[in-house]
C-alpha cells in the first residue's frame, strides 16, 4: 500500500525537525505507542497497540530513522509483528520550511501481511490515513507547545 500526503505545521522548521526526531515526542504522538525504547543510534524498540472499534492488536515493533539530513529529510523504517499479522513500512519524510510554517510531506510504501492483510483490506487505507492524521495532529500540538512553552504552563 502506497502512502503519501503532507501536513502544514504552523511552526518553524527547526522546531518541527526537533520534534520529528525526538523519541519522547514520537512516543507521545504515534497513536497507540505504549513503549518506545532506544535500541541503538536512531533505532528503537516499540510496542504499538492498535484499536479500532472492537478490533484490537499489539505489534512488537522496531523503528529506525535513517539517512538523516538535518532540517530536511529522513527515512523512517517501521517493522512490527503481532497476532494480527505483520507490517513493514518505509517512507521518506521531507521538511520544507518557509518562515513560521513548515510543510512536512511523506511518501512511502507499507507492506501488510498475515490475518489483517487477508481480511481487512477494505479498511486498511482508511485506517492508515486516520492513524497518520492523528499522528500529525498530535505532533502539531507538540510543536506548538514547543513554540509556546515559554508562555503556557497549564498544558
Amino acid at each position: 500500500m502506497k502512502i503519501e500526503g503532507s501536513h502544514l505545521f504552523k511552526s518553524p522548521g527547526e522546531k518541527v525537525w526537533n520534534c520529528l526526531i525526538d523519541p519522547q515526542v514520537l512516543a507521545r504522538c504515534i497513536p497507540g505507542c505504549e513503549k518506545l525504547e532506544l535500541a541503538g543510534e536512531d533505532s528503537y524498540n516499540a510496542v504499538l497497540k492498535i484499536g479500532i472499534g472492537a478490533l484490537k492488536g499489539t505489534f512488537i515493533s522496531h523503528i529506525r530513522l535513517q539517512d538523516k539530513q538535518p532540517l530536511s529529510q529522513y527515512k523512517l523504517v517501521v517493522e512490527g509483528e503481532g497476532g494480527l499479522g505483520f507490517l513493514k513500512g518505509e517512507g521518506l519524510i521531507r521538511l520544507a520550511a518557509s518562515g513560521a510554517e513548515t510543510n512536512v510531506s511523506y511518501s512511502g510504501e507499507v507492506q501488510i501481511g498475515g490475518l489483517i492483510a487477508s481480511v481487512g483490506q477494505r479498511m486498511l487505507q482508511g485506517f492508515a490515513k486516520q492513524t497518520i492524521s492523528r499522528f500529525f495532529s498530535s505532533l502539531a500540538r507538540e510543536t506548538e507547545v514547543a513554540s509556546e512553552s515559554a508562555l503556557t504552563s497549564n498544558n
Binding site: 497476532g83 501481511g113 498475515g114 492483510a117 487477508s118 481480511v119 483490506q121
Partner: protein, 781 residues
C-alpha cells in the same frame, strides 16, 4: 431398457429430504470417543526461511496433547502426491508440514492437537514462528524470466514444464491470412472454488489390527486411500477411507491434501482419533484455486471470417507446489482450443510456472472454460475486425454435422453433435434479429445493450484410461438382496450431483422394481469395490454406465433363474411392477421377493441348476472407449450503465446438449449452478494476491461469489444428441453451464461497449473496469 418409467422423468432427488432437514452426516458431524482436535499454524509470508519455531508456550497450555512441526515428520511422511505425467515435469517435494521454508501464505507449518477446538486454536496462536522473509515471486511472467528468484532450489528455475504441440501448417495459414493477424492477450483470472462445506478430516487408528480409518470430504475415496497409504507408509489394505455427505467440491476435493496425511499421522502417533475442520479462511488460503492463466492468442482469418489457423501461448500460474493434477489442467485448455470449429492449423505452447501462491488445480471445467473463453472471444474479435455478425462467423466455422466422429487437430475425437441446430434453436429463442434491432434503437437513445454469444463444446465422461493418470473406468455392484430390495454400490462417490437418484432411476427401470426399493451406497472403501470418483462430468456417463452394465449381467441371471423356477426354456422375461413375467404368458410370473428368496436360500424346489451360483449380485467395471463431447449455445443480453459501468442482465438464453437425459431436474440443477459460477468468473470473482504474495481477498467480504440477486432468469432448452460412446447415450453436464456462460456474458458486455471502440476487457468485469473503458474511449468516440 425395460419400460422407461423413471429415466427421462423429472424425478425428485432422494437425497434432498435428509439434506434439507439437516439429517445428513458430514465429516464435522462425527463424534468419536476420545476425539482430539487439530489446529494448524500457517505461514503469514509468501516466501520465507523458517529460522525457528518455538512451540513451548503452546505445549504448556492445559489441554494440549501434542504439537508437531515439519522437523518431526520430515523423515516419516512421504510427499503430498501429484499424479501428472508430463515429460520432464519438475515435481518438487511437497511436504505435509513445511520443512525449512514456506512458499505460500497459508502453507501448513505446524499443528496443535488438543482436547477441544478452542484450546487447539488458542495454542496455535501461541506457536511462535521466526521467519526470514524472502522476496516473493508473484507474477508468473516475471517468474519465467532468467534470473528470477527460484522457488524450489532443487528445480533450477520456476518453469515446471513446457509443452509445445502443433498440427497442420500454421506458418502457411498465417501467410495466407486475408486480414491482419488478430492478436489478443486474455487473462483467465485465479478463482477460489468455495464449496459450501469446507474440507474436513477425521482419522482413527486401531493399533491391534493396524487399521487406519480416514473420514474426509473428498470426491475420490479410493484414490485417496491408495495415496494416503503411500504418505504414511501403510499397506493400502490397512487403510479405509469413508467419505460421508459432501457439501460441494467443484473439483477442489478431487485431491489429496496435506491435512489428510497429517491427520493420519497424528492418529497413528497418538492412538486417539483426531479431527480437523477447515475454517473458511483456511479454505481461501489452503484449498486449491482454479484457472489463473495468461493466454496469448493469434489468429489468421480469411475475409469471410473463416479461421485458417491459431497460435496459443498459455502461461499457467501453478502456485508453489503441485497438487494431484495441477500440471495437467493447462493442457486441457490447449486440447479444447479449437472449440466447435473446424480449422486444422493450430500451435500451442504451454508454460507451467511456479509462484509463491496456493496451487491451482481442477476447478469446475478445469482447463476447458479457459479454452472456450478464448475461442469464443476470438470469434467475436474476428467479427469485430471484419465487421461481420458474430453469428455468421460461428456458423461459417462450425464442424459440419456430417463430419462426426470428428478428429480435431489437437488429437481428440468428438463423438457426436449438431452445432448448427443447437445454435439455431438458441438464436430463435432469443429472437436474435429482434435483439439486434432493439440494440440499434437503444443506442440511438444513448442506451448500451449488448448481445453476447457463446457456442461451446466440452470434453466429459473422463475418460478412457489411456488419457487419465490413474484409470478412467468406473465400477458398480448391483445386489438384489434376499428380500428383493436393491442395493447399488458405486465407485463414483457424489458430492452433490444426485447419483443416488439418477442411478436408482436407471436400476428401477431396468429391474422393474419400485424406485424407493433401491438405495445407492458410495464413499466407503470397505464396502464399495475400487472406483475412480466423481469429477470431469463422468458420474452418469461412466459411473452410470457401470451401473447399467452390472444390471445387464444381473438381468441375465434373473432371467436364467426365473426360467428355472417357472419351468420354461425361454429367457424372455418382462421385469415390471416388482415381478418377473414370461413375455406373452402372464401365468408364468413371480415376484422379485420370491425370486430373491430362491436365489439366496438356494434350496428351493427344484434346486438351483448345477452351474448357477447362489445369490443375486453383479459387478461391472466400465472402461469407456472415448470421452464424450457435450455442446451448447448460450446468449446473454445485458445493459451497461455508461455513467457508472454497472451491468444489468436483460435476458439469458441457453440451449445445452448433454446427450440423453436421465433426469431433467438434476440436469437443470447442474446448468443453473454452472451458469451462476461462470457468471462469477465473468463479472465478480478474482483471487487477488498483492505484490508480496498476500491473499487480500481472504474472506467473503472481499471475494464476491454470485448471489441470487446477481443471477438473471434463465430461459433454457435442450437438444438431445445421444453419445455413441456409452449404451446410455449420455454425455455429462456437470461443467457445461460454467463453460458456456463466461464467454457469453463477457461477449455481451464487450458488445454493449462496441460504440466506444472497446474490443476486449479482462475479467472480472467489475463496474469500475467497465467505467474506465468507457472513459478512456470517450475522446475517440
Amino acid at each position: 431398457m425395460a419400460v422407461a418409467k423413471y429415466v427421462c422423468t423429472r424425478t425428485k432427488r432422494k437425497e434432498d429430504r435428509r439434506l434439507i432437514t439437516g439429517l445428513s452426516t458430514y465429516v464435522d458431524d462425527l463424534k468419536l470417543p476420545g476425539l482430539l482436535h487439530v489446529a494448524i499454524i500457517r505461514s503469514i509470508h509468501a516466501y520465507a526461511k523458517i529460522k525457528s519455531i518455538d512451540i513451548s508456550s503452546a505445549q504448556k497450555l492445559p489441554g494440549v496433547v501434542a504439537v508437531v512441526t515439519g522437523e518431526e515428520i520430515k523423515d516419516k511422511l512421504g510427499s503430498v502426491p501429484c499424479a501428472a505425467q508430463i515429460p520432464d515435469l519438475k515435481v518438487p517435494r511437497h511436504p505435509v508440514l513445511a520443512i525449512g521454508k514456506v512458499r505460500y501464505v497459508g502453507e501448513a507449518i505446524a499443528a496443535v492437537v488438543a482436547g477441544d477446538r478452542y484450546v487447539a486454536q488458542d495454542a496455535a496462536d501461541l506457536v511462535e514462528v521466526n521467519y526470514e522473509p524472502l522476496a516473493a515471486v508473484v507474477d508468473p511472467l516475471k517468474a519465467l524470466e532468467p534470473g528470477s528468484t527460484v522457488i524450489h532450489e532443487e528445480c533450477k528455475d520456476n518453469i515446471a514444464f513446457v509443452t509445445k504441440t502443433a498440427a497442420g501448417d500454421v506458418a502457411k495459414a498465417f501467410r495466407e491470412a486475408e486480414a491482419p493477424i488478430i492478436k489478443q492477450r486474455m487473462i483467465n483470472q485465479r478463482l477460489i472454488p468455495m464449496a459450501m462445506e469446507t474440507r474436513g478430516v477425521v482419522a482413527q487408528y486401531q493399533p491391534g489390527d493396524k487399521m487406519l480409518t480416514l473420514w474426509s470430504s473428498s470426491q475420490i475415496p479410493h484414490l485417496l486411500r491408495t495415496l494416503v497409504a503411500g504418505i504414511v507408509g501403510l499397506p493400502e489394505n490397512h487403510v479405509r477411507v469413508i467419505v460421508p455427505e459432501v457439501g460441494g467440491g467443484f473439483g477442489s476435493k478431487l485431491n489429496v491434501y496435506r491435512e489428510e496425511g497429517l491427520l493420519a499421522y497424528l492418529a497413528m502417533k497418538l492412538g486417539r482419533p483426531v479431527k480437523w475442520i477447515e475454517g473458511r479462511r483456511e479454505n481461501f488460503l489452503a484449498t486449491i484455486h482454479g484457472r489463473d492463466q495468461i493466454d496469448d492468442v493469434e489468429i489468421a482469418v480469411k475475409k469471410d471470417g473463416t479461421v485458417l489457423g491459431l497460435k496459443l501461448k498459455v502461461v499457467a500460474d501453478l502456485g508453489a507446489y503441485h497438487q494431484l493434477l495441477t500440471p495437467l489442467i493447462p493442457g486441457l485448455t490447449g486440447a479444447m482450443i479449437v472449440g466447435c470449429y473446424r480449422f486444422p492449423n493450430v500451435s500451442i505452447e504451454t508454460y507451467g510456472v511456479f509462484t509463491n501462491k496456493m496451487a491451482t488445480d481442477a476447478y469446475r471445467g478445469a482447463g476447458r472454460p479457459e479454452a472456450t473463453y478464448l475461442i469464443e472471444r476470438v470469434m467475436d474479435l474476428v467479427a469485430a475486425e471484419l465487421k461481420l455478425d458474430p453469428v455468421a462467423v460461428r456458423q461459417n466455422n462450425f464442424v459440419p454435422m456430417n463430419a462426426f466422429p470428428y478428429t480435431t487437430p489437437t488429437g481428440l475425437t468428438y463423438d457426436s453433435a449438431n452445432y448448427q441446430n443447437c445454435f439455431q434453436k438458441a438464436l430463435e429463442m432469443a429472437n436474435y434479429k429482434g435483439l439486434r434491432e432493439e440494440q440499434k434503437k437503444l443506442r440511438q437513445q444513448g442506451k448500451y445493450m449488448g448481445i453476447g454469444i457463446s457456442t461451446y463444446v466440452e470434453i466429459c465422461a473422463m475418460g478412457p484410461s489411456s488419457g487419465m493418470p490413474a484409470g478412467g473406468w468406473e465400477s458398480a455392484t448391483v445386489r438384489i438382496e434376499p428380500t428383493g430390495k436393491v442395493t447399488i454400490y458405486t465407485g463414483s462417490s457424489p458430492h452433490g450431483q444426485g447419483q443416488e437418484t439418477t442411478f436408482s432411476q436407471i436400476a428401477a427401470d431396468e429391474l422393474g422394481v419400485p424406485f424407493d426399493d433401491i438405495i445407492v451406497q458410495h464413499g466407503d472403501t470397505s464396502t464399495v469395490q475400487y472406483g475412480i470418483g466423481t469429477f470431469g462430468s463422468r458420474a452418469t456417463a461412466v459411473g452410470g454406465t457401470a451401473v447399467y452394465m452390472a444390471l445387464q449381467q444381473l438381468k441375465e441371471k434373473v432371467g436364467k433363474l426365473a426360467a428355472h423356477l417357472l419351468k420354461t426354456d425361454s429367457s424372455a422375461f418382462v421385469l415390471e411392477g416388482g415381478r418377473v413375467t414370461l413375455k406373452g404368458d402372464s401365468s408364468k410370473s413371480m415376484s422379485f421377493f420370491d425370486l430373491a428368496q430362491a436365489a439366496y436360500h438356494a434350496k428351493s424346489l427344484p434346486p438351483l441348476p448345477p452351474k448357477m451360483e447362489p445369490g443375486l449380485s453383479a459387478t461391472a467395471f466400465f472402461e469407456p472407449s472415448n470421452y464424450t463431447f457435450p455442446f451448447g449455445a448460450h446468449i446473454a443480453v445485458v445493459e451497461v450503465d455508461p455513467e457508472t459501468g454497472e451491468i444489468n442482465f436483460k435476458r439469458y438464453v441457453g440451449v445445452d446438449d448433454c446427450g440423453r437425459i436421465i433426469n431433467p431436474l438434476t440436469v437443470h440443477g447442474q446448468i443453473h449452478g454452472g451458469i451462476a459460477q461462470g457468471l462469477g468468473q465473468a463479472l465478480l470473482e478474482e483471487a487477488v494476491y498483492d505484490e508480496n504474495g498476500q491473499l487480500i481477498t481472504g474472506t467473503l467480504m472481499d471475494y464476491a461469489i454470485p448471489k441470487s440477486v446477481d443471477i438473471p432468469w434463465f430461459e433454457l432448452d435442450k437438444t438431445e444428441t445421444p453419445s455413441p460412446v456409452n449404451p446410455l447415450g449420455v454425455k455429462g453436464v456437470g461443467e457445461a453451464g460454467t463453460i458456456g456462460s463466461t464467454p457469453a456474458i463477457v461477449n455481451a458486455v464487450v458488445d454493449a461497449l462496441a460504440p466506444f471502440g472497446v474490443r476486449h476487457l479482462d475479467m472480472p468485469l467489475k463496474s469500475e473496469r467497465v467505467w474506465q473503458a468507457i472513459k478512456n474511449a470517450k475522446p475517440r468516440a
